[in-house]
């Protein structure tokens, strides 16, 4: 039986009372030895099942219209080709995160350039690729707007407001009124999307590279027109996700259809170009930020409007102003979003949707307001931290933003900051910048099962580990709760036959699946207490031994028959009564070349408060990774599309520039401030994976402005933009 728990009240800090001493420690990942030896089995790594065929996706090369004819016969004449599959069940793009249903299935309609329209299947990869590249396709084309700036099809949301922005703006003594742009971004996980499908009767087993197995199972079933009970998904190792593997993708649906038609296993691995064409991008944004303040630096008016884009029928819109709504207080706040409908690769979640680009503009505008006020940007932020959520009045559950700002400033040496544009080393102008960090925190329904026999435990959940450290932290939670050494705990993940978890997304995985694991282990603690005859409160579990009320026993002798406990958690009243978010502060020092406009990041510091840290090592890695994404956002990442047909021009890793070793300084520091969020969940944690990026790009952008004395409004700060920002000398 599954125990169900709803987060209706703040929870006691049991993990601070247990005695094993594993929780929070910088434990090495248990899956590390597999990862460093090449034996961690990602989707396409598993030995090919007998008779496996290879599928290669074919893309549409028009922006909108219809496929009239595909030269199937011509392709079938090539050696090794088994089939050219077009099928009304094939999907035009991945499902949005947590959709739980099939993505749009366009049949012969083409909705964007790059859309998958057929799957060539052959006995070898080379034959499939060759036939796919030669495949002749006839289209009927329709006119379509492919750029957000020239479509007439726009949806303007009602403004979200608090107080009277117009009145506050009109009476503000000092104002800034600024426009920013950010381009589309690609998640660009290192492992391209892959699937291996195999049918057994009317049931399909799919090995896939997926972040949210519980939802993906339903999405695949719905796409295929079968019941979810006929689908099993296996995703034990995922080579990075960052949002791009939240929903079932075209490769998985196509592999399942092909395998069913051919009666043999089929593997479909996207090419890197497929990934850029067909996988959800982060929308480009146009942002309008207006800030008003009194002369002594009290912010009175905040408005952050944006325009993003997406393809028809996609419900997702990049929530650009998410953090702008709760970081600082004002008398009047207003936020309006416009969604432009275009025929282009659809948009969806990419790491920290909203904050990743919204905070770059918003925090740069805050910086510019500070300049205009003649205030230190740190002081302006500290002066305007609101008592409660400015939009809805909820109290913050736990917020150490002020501490992050002040401790960060001290550690970074902020007080040594010089006048903007005044420091140079040879041809290099040097500057320091900072930003607040924020990423709201949620709890998503999650179940887990824990089994204990003697002093060995197994954790089972369909949760995934996309590099985030789930294998480590779920182990640590179970080990801590059951008083076991981590090497006595095994964690099994990514199998849809296991209890359904939140999956990895929105930084909620560790808190959600971790809480479910905690609750299942807590149930086992109650059973152990009963066995030795003490109350649950009196029980201590440590080093494989149970103690309580002067009784004690070794678990190996006490638990001779397996104890199985399953628990499920979901969010409840605390989410309505309190507002939970991770907070932090980013600091960056850059050098800007006076002649070339090149920007080098010299050092960065992130100080963050994000609830209980479950594993100091993996948490640090997550935070660092996010900060480096901030460098990419600020300096290099720029997904470009052709303005005539919308095709993605930067469709590989030589043209879409993710940060490389040489872009990242060795001096990247992360500091966590101790915190417990009792209102968030029973393990007092908050999300980590996205806080690191939220605001990091702004710190770099603000540092560039400080170095040169000139502002950048079109992100990224490519060399030509930096040079033009200098103006005519």
């Amino acid at each position: 039986m599954t125990d169900r728990f709803t987060m209706d009240e703040p929870q006691p800090r049991l993990l601070d009372e247990t005695g094993q001493g594993v929780i929070g420690t910088p434990m090495d990942r248990p899956d590390g030895p597999q990862k460093v030896s090449g034996t961690a089995g990602y989707t396409a790594d598993h030995p090919a099942p007998e008779g496996m065929a290879h599928g290669y996706l074919v893309r549409a090369t028009i922006a909108r219209g219809k496929v009239l004819k595909i030269d199937r016969e011509g392709a079938m004449g090539l050696e090794g080709v088994l089939d050219v599959i077009t099928d009304p069940r094939m999907t035009r793009n991945p499902a949005q995160g947590m959709a739980g249903e099939a993505p749009v299935q366009p049949a012969d309609a083409v909705h964007y350039h790059g859309q998958p329209i057929a799957l060539v299947v052959a006995s070898t990869f080379e034959a499939a690729r060759d036939a796919a590249q030669r495949l002749s396709v006839e289209y009927e084309t329709e006119d379509a707007a492919v750029s957000p700036g020239n479509t007439r099809d726009t949806e303007v949301d009602d403004p979200e407001t608090a107080g009277d922005f117009d009145a506050a703006w009109d009476s503000s003594e000092v104002t800034v009124d600024l426009n920013y742009t950010t381009p589309s971004h690609a998640a660009a996980a290192m492992e391209p999307h892959a699937a291996v499908a195999q049918w057994n009767g009317d049931a399909v087993e799919l090995r896939g590279s997926l972040q949210m197995v519980r939802f993906n199972k339903k999405e695949l079933a719905d796409s295929l027109g079968i019941d979810a009970s006929q689908v099993r998904i296996l995703s034990p190792f995922v080579g990075g996700g960052f949002g791009s593997k939240l929903g079932i993708g075209p490769e998985a649906v196509a592999a399942a259809i092909a395998s069913q038609k051919l009666g043999r296993p089929v593997r479909v691995v996207m090419t890197r170009q497929n990934v850029f064409d067909m996988i959800l991008r982060r929308s480009e944004t146009a942002q309008h930020v207006r800030l008003g303040a009194t002369r002594d630096g009290r912010i009175t008016a905040i408005s952050h409007d944006d325009r993003v884009s997406n393809l028809d029928e996609e419900g997702f819109a990049e929530p650009v102003s998410q953090a702008s709504q709760f970081l600082y207080g004002a008398d009047g706040l207003s936020f309006t979003q416009t969604v432009a409908r275009i025929a282009a690769t659809p948009a969806g979640s990419v790491r920290a949707p909203g904050e990743a680009v919204g905070m770059v503009a918003f925090e740069a505008a805050i910086d510019e307001l500070a300049d205009k006020l003649g205030m230190d940007p740190l002081d302006l932020r500290l002066k305007n931290l609101p008592e409660k959520h400015p939009m809805d009045g909820r109290p913050y559950s736990a917020r150490r933003l002020a501490d992050c700002l002040t401790e960060g400033a001290e550690l970074f040496g902020w007080d040594a900051r010089w006048e903007a544009g005044s420091r140079r080393e040879g041809d290099w102008l040097i500057g320091m910048g900072m930003s607040s960090a924020a990423r709201s925190n949620v709890l998503v329904k999650s179940a887990a099962r824990v089994r204990l026999t003697g002093d060995r435990a197994i954790v089972e959940t369909d949760m995934t580990d996309i590099g985030t450290g789930s294998y480590a932290i779920l182990n640590q939670i179970a080990a801590e709760m059951l008083g076991l050494s981590p090497d006595r705990v095994e964690v099994r993940l990514g199998d849809s036959d296991l209890p359904g978890a939140s999956g990895s997304g929105g930084s909620f995985g560790a808190s959600s699946a971790g809480s479910a694991t905690f609750l299942a282990a807590k149930k086992i603690r109650a059973e152990i207490a009963r066995k030795i005859g003490c109350s649950e409160e009196a029980l201590t579990l440590q080093k494989g031994r149970a103690r309580g009320d002067n009784r004690e026993a070794d678990l190996s002798g006490l638990v001779t028959e397996e104890i199985v406990a399953e628990a499920e958690i979901e969010g409840g009243k605390t989410a309505e009564s309190h507002f939970s978010s991770g907070f932090g502060a980013h600091f960056a020092e850059v050098a800007v070349n006076e002649w070339t406009g090149e920007v080098r990041v010299r050092r960065m510091l992130g100080v963050m408060s994000m609830g209980r840290i479950l594993n100091e090592k993996t948490a640090r890695s997550q935070a660092l990774g996010g900060m480096i994404w901030g460098i990419g956002t600020a300096l290099t990442e720029d997904m470009q599309s052709d303005s005539r047909d919308g095709h993605v021009v930067t469709r590989d890793l030589a043209n879409y520039h993710v940060p490389s070793h040489a872009d990242v300084p060795g001096d990247m520091q992360v500091v966590f401030l101790e915190e417990r969020d009792d209102w968030a969940n029973p393990i007092q944690t908050k999300g980590i994976g996205e806080l690191g990026i939220s605001g990091a790009g702004a710190a770099v952008i603000n540092a560039i402005s400080h170095a040169s004395g000139h502002r950048i409004y079109d992100i990224p700060a490519l060399p030509d933009r930096v040079i033009s920002s200098f103006g005519v000398k």
Partner: protein, 167 residues
């Protein structure tokens, strides 16, 4: 067509499509999936292996061009039970997250450390005759290996740690 390769010390005769890359031969014909395909275009470095002791992107190599060559893959560096100093350092420093680029990083670092020992200079070397294993040298020399999880500083800490051990 047929090609003879020595992989991790073992000789193999592979019967393959002329279009086959060394990467696909390793992964699909020789069941050595530790070498990863990230871009198939020589842009990400996930497929890095050693051919006759030098690091190469195996996705850019046609199998047919390597008759008689000696190839070393991540499987030839160490197993989970017997990790090399570099592999151990990656685990200890958390020089990875998702792990997909990791075999390529480790192969590349293995060769890079040898290049340093052999005295090969790089673009950032101040002294072309005596390059020191600084963070800047590592960052420059490892830039062909992308890591989207962005474990870069920790990867370099791991390499520095292993280099110390090997001294």
């Amino acid at each position: 067509m047929k090609t003879t390769l020595t992989v991790n010390g073992r000789s193999h005769e592979v019967d393959h499509d002329t279009r086959r890359t060394l990467l696909d031969t390793l992964r699909d014909d020789l069941d050595l999936p530790g070498t990863k395909k990230g871009c198939d275009h020589g842009q990400c470095g996930a497929c890095t292996v050693l051919v006759n002791g030098q690091r190469v992107n195996s996705c850019l190599c046609l199998t047919a061009m390597h008759d008689g060559d000696e190839v070393t893959t991540i499987e030839g560096i160490g197993s989970p039970e017997r990790l090399s100093a570099l592999q151990k350092a990656f685990v200890e420093k958390d020089g990875y997250q998702c792990g997909y680029c990791t075999p390529g990083q480790i192969m590349s670092a293995t060769a890079m450390l040898k290049e340093m020992r052999d005295g090969a200079p790089s673009y950032v070397s101040d002294d072309l005759d005596a390059a020191e294993l600084s963070d800047a040298e590592m960052a420059e020399r490892m830039s062909g290996n992308l890591c989207r999880c962005s474990a870069y500083p920790l990867i370099r800490e791991a390499i520095a740690m292993a280099a110390e051990v090997e001294k």
